[in-house]
Amino acid sequence: MTTETRTTGFWGDAWRRYRRRPLAVAAAAFVGGLVLVAILSPAIAGTKPVLCRYKGRIYAPCLAYFARDLEPAIFARDRFRGTYPRNLVEKDPESWAVWPLVFQDPYRSVRADEWPGLPANPARDEGRPSRRNLFGTDQAGVDVFAKMVHGTTIALLVGFVSMGIAGTIGVAVGAVGGYFGGWIDMLTSRITEIVMCIPTLVLILAVIAVIEKPTIWHTMAIIGATGWTGIARLTRGEFLRLKESEFVLAARAAGAGPARIMLRHILPNALAPVLVPITFGIASAVLLESSLSFLGFGPPPPTASWGSILNDARSNLAMWWLVVFPGIAIFLTVLAYNLIGEALQESTDPRLREARK
């Protein structure tokens, strides 16, 4: 027969339409770039060697930027006190090291001659952008570029972790309510409405104030725990619609249990529309975290977050570089997620697909 139809599958189709939007592709590439920066952050900016050979063995002290315990104990024993270049040479003339691209630390100001010939970082108004400090330095003389490179991890994690939590709660609540209906639906819908009524910022500020030592993970958890209502409503609608469809009836006739029907049959079909609010949710989570940090409710120092750099700027507005660089970084990230969300929406919208006919 010649009446074969070209079927590329739903996601293949969606990807084809997504690719036609240059801005959305650029946005996805930007997020990909951020992921790279986050993974490579200790190799981009830092004062610890990426790799070094010391007393006959090879170490990667830069991993300390991910978790403090990853710093090899030998350097603490040998009293390096975080200053590697001079100590390495003095304590083991045989040693060698691969250094990060930029010798600047996100947590402290670089002292004079810490790197042979490199002067100390300027502080306050003196710290405008220069060749040594690409984005300038903050009040205390800490390099803004290094802070921002290391803050990328937080900017990314906040989005993914909090929306991972929100997505899980939202899909679960929406699915259960939509699928079972009746009093269960009534209950889940009311809970959703109540959570919607709580002003998010109010709740987050209150919860953060309760926690003794709030970390960035707490912030993410709270953003996730409050940001699921939209996702739940959408999922509920999709499940209400899909539970009456033929393939679900067929699965039920074949004896599949509710859990199996919800996870294997309905969820994959409801995923595309649910993905859209999740993407927009990532954008608003990034925004929310940076505004919290900006208000001084961010991760405790010395952890670097883009929003907390902005907070530093408030005490001295003449240091415009403390506003411009992190501000633009936050803006571009939010913009990128919004663009991706919009492109997802339009490339998975069934109505727009039908318009092709």
Partner: protein, 329 residues
Amino acid sequence: MATYLARRAIFGVLTLVVITCFVYGLARNMPGTPLTVQLGETDPSRRFNPEDLERMKRIYGLDRPWPVGYAQWLANVVRGDLGRSISRKQPVATLIAERIGPTFLVSGTALVVAWLAAIPLGLYASARSGRPDERLSSLVLYVLYSFPTFVAALFLQIIFAVWLRGTAWELPLFGMSDVPPDAPSLVRIGDVARHMILPVTCQTYVSLAYDSRFVRANLEEAVRQDYIRTARAKGAGPWRVLFRHAFRNTLIPLVTLLGLSLPGLLGGSVIIEQIFTWPGMGRLFFESIRERDYPTIMGLTLMFSVLTLAGQLLADILYCAVDPRVSVE
């Protein structure tokens, strides 16, 4: 109608109880009490000795477990008493009354300006959809929509308060008024207006970008409907189709959005009021959390929640008013 309102009211009160109880529990479990935070900050040597502290706690009802405290608070609220602020030594109701005006001044102005501009912009964008001028304006609005308010606020502060300092364009950085309260009223109004420019700008541009995109998206949704085809087949011109047939239908989601903006209108924006030290509700809330001022936190939480619920009710009522298909039943 009456049963509908009654059901809404019962559910609303229930929601309020759940939310306030939750927030009260949280607030009472924050480390520190208003007594220790306040005094510890001002002067460590003036900390209360333990007996005084106990006496003060008894006075403010902080010595009992929080559920009891909550019940007491609730009983007072039912009698119309929001309590007294601990750190400000004033009734919470008075504090709210003082702050609600400035907040409304900024948010109300921003809301009106944003909607006045958003509706024509949305109509324009969907009428000229796809043309170069529309694409440019939509791109600008899209960029504005993603631009964080607090970043914009800092940019504006740097430009108008630092770089333009000493010129005619300089705008005040903080607060609501610099002139003494006994100055002529025209001078005072002008001064407040000057202080308002930056906060209003910040609050307007985001809503403007969001609202105009919202208007446009709904218009384009409406334009896809069958009844638009009918209108065109009748011989209606493009503007008539857009204004009369499509726009009239987008009013339905539009009024819903308007109703939902009620809490923001009186609740204010914590971030903007904080940046510009605008003496409004958002800033009051932020300060009361820092000062562990339970009565104020609770009063404001109650107010925000009531406003949110009222906004939803308002949205539903407006919805009935513009959509003949929906009746309150």
